[in-house]
Subunit: 132 residues, 2 copies
Amino acid sequence: MKLLTRDTDYAVRALLAMAARKSMVAVSDLVIELKIPRPFLRRILQRLTKADVLGSLKGKGGGFVLKREPAKISLVDLMAIFQGPVQLSECLFKKKICPNRKTCPLRSEISEIEDFALTKLRSITIAKLLRK
Amino acid sequence: MKLLTRDTDYAVRALLAMAARKSMVAVSDLVIELKIPRPFLRRILQRLTKADVLGSLKGKGGGFVLKREPAKISLVDLMAIFQGPVQLSECLFKKKICPNRKTCPLRSEISEIEDFALTKLRSITIAKLLRK
DNA sequence: AGTAATGATACCATATTAGTATCATTTGTC
DNA sequence: GACAAATGATACTAATATGGTATCATTACT
Ligand code: FES
Ligand code: FES
């Protein structure tokens, strides 16, 4: 089971590169550095901009900048942006097996897994990854 | 993120039905009870048979029976059969970010998530689900 | 022999993921 | 103001995974 999709993966790499520079960067530059297909990377950065993780400047000399602190960008955030919210606790069996969700022992186990995963994933931030 | 795929889901339901009966059942009967498309269910049961969870008997009066104890059939087992082994700790970033896996702080966090999930999922067995 | 079952396998349909292409809009520079 | 260099928006194609179907061979009971 894949935990991260490729968008998320690329987003992390791009953010790491940008966090290292701190200044406005054009996609062209990042493409050279990261070797990610240009239009694909563009779309990813645009989504990050919409999500307010990046800021952008149009026109000549424009590009993208980090807008949020690296310590405040975690894997869950990025997963949420590119893969939808991390929720493993959706009813596994679509009501066929457990009659009511309140007393379902399955749900409680799954919820624990989710909580655990969320905590861990939240602790992995761009800042943390940068320190290496 | 979907934790279980539909095959797994259906497998659980079928196994529950079979565990309740304990005798040889033909697909036709299960189809009526479970309302799962017949050829699809057939393929699922065949895979379970290959995995030695079920036994089967060909020919008239044949069908499938539970071969393994309900307490020894867990969600991880079924996930492994239908979705491949549960391993979340595959290197997330394909070597681009962490130079060497041994000292990777990410890996340790992810491994913890995986261990936790595995333990929980292993504890959910057909027997346990049946007790309701 | 005939029939009712599974075994094996190939096939089709749909959804998700990965990646591309294009045109509009903004902005700095001459 | 014209031009060039950037992003914004969006629509499209390709590849893969999932969900589901169809078919024929094989086995076994009657
Ligand atoms: S599995 Fe859905 S409520 Fe228990
Ligand atoms: S993310 Fe792959 S080794 Fe750290």
